[in-house]
């Protein structure tokens, strides 16, 4: 056993999950702030420890921006009563949040978030079939939601669970098909190879824009975000599949949603926006020094955050789809479109070669 | 004092019926009705004909139990009679119906006798206009005190103002002001400004009570109701004038500013202050009794009740009511106490038990006690409560259910005659257990020394007294306003009373725990509700044969005594 590999993998996993949770927490703050601005409000601006205001220059800003809101939210979730309603399937009810959050966390294993640092590749598992792994894991996410809806023994969660099972399975198909052109063009299923190809030839979003659009919209649907948040539609289903949940169990669903969003934007960054590369200042080559390695990680995170902002922005702009419209869009528009996209790409590639 | 107000005793001789039409509906009306005071037949009036088919004619001064005065003019109606030709034969219309000659002038419905073929119109535009006019005149000097008037909510001026009133007064001159809050008698407050001079109170106290204490003085707008100089309006029926006063001129001192009438829950009940058993309505709110009002029952009390009975409600809400079950002077619970009592009674030999019941208890409770009496061949009796009566309503016997105690076999014709026998039984040691219900026996020949000789003294009562303090087992009971049941009055009328308020603390209706006790001791069962209990009793007690709880209705039924 290669102890070196184990130790570095554990470190990478720990750091990646830590960063993931931190980003998820602050994504919630971003969500609330952006929604507030779009709605002519201020948003959370109160939470700050008392001593913050004594910090020179930064103090007033930190106290007024709600920087500590995620901490307060987390604390609140932990301190709330963990209530289990009567009549639920206890075992399923307890497993469901875990089933929901685990896939959303392990899916980031194959995403290269940087080039190399020393001799370590900045990816937890550099799989040859990274994209297949991703789709395999992402499909598991639906079980958490369906299980939650079923276990709660209550009609709204049940409806939410049913909706999500159909929705997520439908959009997985168009999502999977939408990325095939990307790999046809890049010629590899390994995500690091896809990035390397983009460093050489330019971002894939230019070569396969239709793929990107389908992937983006399917990504909204897969992460249960507006305009596809039917499983948790507040106005119709109270809280959807997590209606009966409270405290930290509810928070896990919440976290899973944002982790899914991070995974989706991470995938998008990798597949369409060149991952950790930038096409100038030599940043498209694997790093020689630790400084450049860190800069490349930051580039990856910046691209991801920009895409997440789009996710959030879109949420506060669109009304929810009706269920039949959702199915219509998924099966009758995106699936044929994705098939045509594959064929056209394949034909063009064949013609060029 | 005048003739009795009850009319049930002698069946009215058949009277001729004539046909009249009220608002187009043809009805048959007896030509004469008995006079409310003398009982002699007098011609039926239009308002009585209308009342037969529930056509409401607004009125202030008319009262079915009082002589007609006809001074308020509110009951003006239009009418017509069959037109007669020169040959004194009715003129017929083309379709053969008699032609009706409509009277050119309206008439007051309360004083105009009906005649055959008469047609009465109570809802024509002219009648409505007349009512509006009369009401506007009545309100000219009325102070509109409604926010501070106790009558508000049951005031005929208010009710008819809704139907026929103007939205604003056209009277710009200052109103005539008369004395307010006049102390008319020990129980009555008079507000002369509110008085509409209908003279109902004057007629009531003169013709029904025979105490000619009230009158109207001064002239015109300055007409004022007052008591005769030097006389106080203090007979025992004064508070009835508060009931019949259509406005807030006469109000009760006892009820003054206590509660607004629209909050009061009205429960049909029976007065327990004497053997007459006047029908009453208990006005209660939030488990507190606020007042009694008489309820019309022509077989018992007509529309009246005496002041002493009416004001005898305050003990129901007394603070020192018995609230806890006690066992050897320690607080206990029903189950434990009843089980122990049942156990002791089961092993008691025949003849060692005596029962003192109360003629203030309901028939059902007395009957359950008589079952215990039969089991032990026990001596039993009750306590007589005699005082002075009057000729109108107040009975000399102040027990509400003397006849019930007799009919159920608790005591015999001479109430209280067995008590010395019980006393000697206790002192000789033959009687070891005494069951006392609702009476303080220390005042009736069974002193504390005698009670001290008993092995078991079981007492149930409502208020604490010397006997309850000596009890080995004390079972808190309910006032009549807190339970349901029946009383048999002096004339043998069996009447229901209903529950108005919840009993305090742990107190339970006596029949409830007596039933448990009887079941435990004798094994007889089959009556878990008061309805079932009454029906069971009607089967077993010969005097109540054929009665059912539902059949009693609101006004009761008379049994032979």
């Amino acid at each position: 056993m290669d102890w070196n590999f184990i130790i570095f993998s554990v470190v990478k996993i720990a750091v990646a999950i830590g960063v993931l949770h931190a980003i998820a927490a602050y994504a919630v703050l971003a969500e609330r702030k952006i929604s507030a601005w779009i709605q002519d409000r201020v948003g959370p601006n109160r939470v700050a420890p008392p001593f913050m205001k004594y910090i020179p220059v930064l103090g007033p800003v930190l106290t007024r921006w709600g920087i500590f809101q995620p901490l307060a939210d987390g604390l609140k979730f932990m301190l709330k009563e963990d209530f289990t309603p009567a009549g639920v399937h206890k075992a399923y009810f307890w497993i469901a949040p875990a089933v929901a959050i685990i896939p959303s966390m392990i899916v980031i294993a194959v995403i290269p978030f940087g080039s190399v640092m020393g001799h370590q590749q900045m990816v937890i598992a550099n799989l040859n079939v990274g994209i297949l792994y991703t789709f395999g894991i992402v499909s598991l996410g639906v079980y958490g939601i369906v299980l939650a809806g079923y276990a709660a023994n209550s009609k709204y969660p049940f409806l939410g669970g049913i909706r999500s099972s159909a929705q997520m399975i439908s959009y997985e198909i168009s999502m999977g098909m939408s990325v095939i052109p990307v790999f046809l063009i890049a010629g590899a299923l390994n995500l690091s190879s896809v990035i390397a190809w983009q460093a050489q030839h330019g971002w894939l979003v230019i070569y396969a824009p239709l793929s990107f659009i389908i992937f983006l919209i399917a990504g909204f649907a897969e992460t249960n975000r507006l305009p596809f948040d039917l499983p948790e539609a507040e106005t119709e289903l109270v809280g959807g599949y997590h209606t009966e949940y409270s405290s930290m169990k509810f928070a896990l669903f919440f976290l899973a949603e944002y982790s899914n969003m991070i995974a989706a934007t991470g995938m998008m960054t990798t597949l369409f926006f060149g991952g950790w590369t930038l096409p100038f200042w030599g940043l498209d080559q694997p790093a020689h020094s630790i400084g450049i390695a860190i800069v490349q990680i930051l580039i990856f995170l910046a691209k991801m955050c920009a895409l997440m902002t789009v996710f959030i922005w879109v949420r506060w702009m669109f009304p929810r789809f009706r269920y039949d419209q959702l199915m219509d869009l998924g099966w009758r528009r995106f699936v044929p479109l994705a098939v045509v996209n594959i064929l056209v790409t394949a034909i063009v590639l064949w013609a060029i070669s | 004092m005048s003739t009795p107000v009850t009319t049930e005793t002698k069946p009215a001789p058949p009277v001729e019926k004539i046909k009249v039409k009220v608002d187009g509906r043809e009805i048959e009306v007896p030509r004469t009705t008995p006079d409310p005071i003398s009982g002699k037949p007098i011609p039926t009036t239009m308002i009585q004909a209308c009342a037969l088919i529930n056509v409401d004619v607004p009125h202030y001064c008319y009262h079915p139990k009082l002589p007609v005065a006809g001074n308020c003019r509110m009951c003006l109606v239009e009418f017509g009679t069959p037109a007669l030709g020169p040959d004194r034969k009715p003129i017929l219309n083309q379709d053969g119906t008699p032609k009706i000659a409509k009277s050119p002038r309206p008439a007051i419905a309360c004083a105009t006798p009906i005649s055959p073929g008469m047609e009465i119109y109570t809802n024509t535009p002219a009648v409505k206009q007349m009512r509006e006019g009369v009401l506007e005149f009545l309100l000219i000097n009325h102070p509109l005190d409604c926010p501070i008037c106790d009558q508000a909510g049951e005031c005929k001026l208010q009710e008819y103002s809704v139907d026929y009133g103007q939205s604003a007064s056209r009277f710009v001159e200052p109103k005539v002001h008369k004395p307010k809050a006049v102390d008319l008698g020990p129980r009555i407050v008079l507000d002369d400004e509110r008085c509409i001079l209908c003279t109902r109170c004057i007629r009531f106290t003169k013709d029904i009570v025979g105490d000619d204490a009230l009158g109207i003085v001064n002239r015109g707008s300055y007409n004022t109701l007052t008591a005769y100089p030097g006389k106080v309006f203090d007979n025992n029926y004064t508070l009835n004038t508060v009931d019949i006063c259509p406005v807030g001129a006469l109000t009760s001192k006892d009820f003054r500013f206590k509660m607004r009438v629209w909050f009061l829950k009205e429960t049909k009940s029976v007065c327990t202050s004497c053997a007459t058993g006047c029908n009453i309505i208990i006005g209660s709110r939030e488990e507190k009794v606020y007042r009694y009002e008489p309820r019309q029952n022509d077989a018992v009390n007509a529309c009246w009740m005496c002041d002493s009975g009416r004001l005898n409600y305050k003990w129901i809400g007394r603070e020192d009511r018995l609230k806890d079950v006690q066992r050897q002077k320690e607080k206990s619970i029903w189950n434990a106490a009843l089980n122990e009592i049942s156990h002791k009674l089961k092993s008691a030999p025949v003849g060692s038990v005596a029962i003192i019941a109360s003629a203030r208890q309901a028939n059902e409770e007395l009957w359950l006690l008589s079952k215990l009496k039969a089991k032990f061949s026990a001596l039993s009796d009750s306590v007589p409560r005699m005082a002075e009566g009057d000729k109108l309503l107040l009975n000399a016997d102040r027990n509400p259910n003397t006849n019930g105690a007799r009919l159920t076999g608790i005591c015999f014709t001479e109430m209280g005659s067995t008590i010395p026998q019980i006393a000697s039984g206790i002192s000789s040691g033959k009687i070891k257990t005494l069951i006392v219900f609702g009476e303080d026996v220390t005042k009736h020949g069974l002193g504390p020394d005698l009670l001290g000789k008993l092995e078991t003294l079981i007492v149930s009562d409502i208020l604490p007294n010397a006997t309850t303090r000596l009890a080995h087992y004390l079972l808190p009971g309910c006032a009549h306003a807190e339970k349901r049941g029946t009383f048999t009055n002096a004339k043998g009328r069996v009447q229901k009373f209903m529950k108005a308020v919840e009993p305090p603390g742990d107190a339970r209706p006596e029949w409830e725990f007596l039933h448990e006790l009887v079941f435990n001791v004798t094994g007889q069962d089959g009556f878990v509700t008061i309805e079932g209990l009454f029906n069971e009793m009607a089967k077993e007690v010969p005097a109540f044969k054929g009665l059912t709880w539902a059949g009693l209705g609101d006004s009761g039924a008379t049994v032979p005594i």
Binding site: I34, A36, W37, I38, Q39, D40, R41, V42, N45, W313, V314, W316, M317, F318 | P143, C146, P147, I148, A152, P174, K175, V176, H177, K178, P179, K180, A181, V182, D192, V217, N218, Y222, T224, T226, K253, D254, F255, R256, F257, K258, M259, R260, W262, F263
Partner: protein, 185 residues
């Protein structure tokens, strides 16, 4: 009237113009809020709302211009109150008489449970004496339930003076003018 739905053009069916329009609107609002300071909310405890003159806040009892209690405890507000927030104890036969001539009575106790009150204003509407008004207090807070049951003294203190036609005083004056009243009873 039946309005036929116009069939969408191909351009509209793409949804893209609508999406772009939506993005534009939301972006404009976010921009204005962030950089032009055009937010519509207030920061409540520091910034307070200017209550409009006819605002209906908490109901309080008022006094007339002579400082007398206007309420005569007719209990109409208690009757009409939909959430049963008002409880009045009338003076009773031996109770305290009103603190002004002719009114004959005023409440012995008058309680409004501010936790129950729904600010519907029915008490004000039904009051024949103009004695209860919904004033401008909108943030009623306290440490306990009992603290929020306002009694007569508190309600009168909070309500202040509200001048109006003095019906009972007017009646008393009118009666005084008729002192040569011919009744001697």
């Amino acid at each position: 009237m039946i309005v036929n739905r116009r069939p969408l053009t191909f351009w509209e069916k793409l949804y893209l113009p609508a999406i772009m329009g939506g993005l534009k609107v939301t972006m404009r609002h976010a921009w204005r809020t962030l950089f032009a300071g055009k937010k519509v909310t207030m920061e409540y405890p520091e910034q307070k709302w200017a209550v409009p003159p006819d605002y209906r806040g908490a109901p309080y009892l008022v006094r007339d211009q002579d400082g007398s209690t206007k309420c005569v405890s007719c209990q109409l507000c208690e009757f009409v109150c939909p959430p049963k927030a008002i409880k009045i104890i009338p003076p009773g036969p031996a109770g305290q008489i009103a603190d002004r001539a002719n009114a004959e009575k005023m409440p012995r106790e008058f309680e409004i449970n501010m936790l129950r009150c729904i600010y519907c204003g029915m008490c004000q509407e039904v009051c024949p004496e103009e004695a209860i008004f919904l004033l401008k207090d909108y943030s009623i807070t306290g440490q306990s339930r009992q603290e929020l049951v306002f009694n007569k003294e508190k309600l009168l203190a909070l309500g202040g003076v509200h001048p109006g036609i003095q019906k009972w005083k007017h009646k008393a004056e009118e009666a005084k003018e008729q002192e040569n009243f011919p009744v001697k009873v």
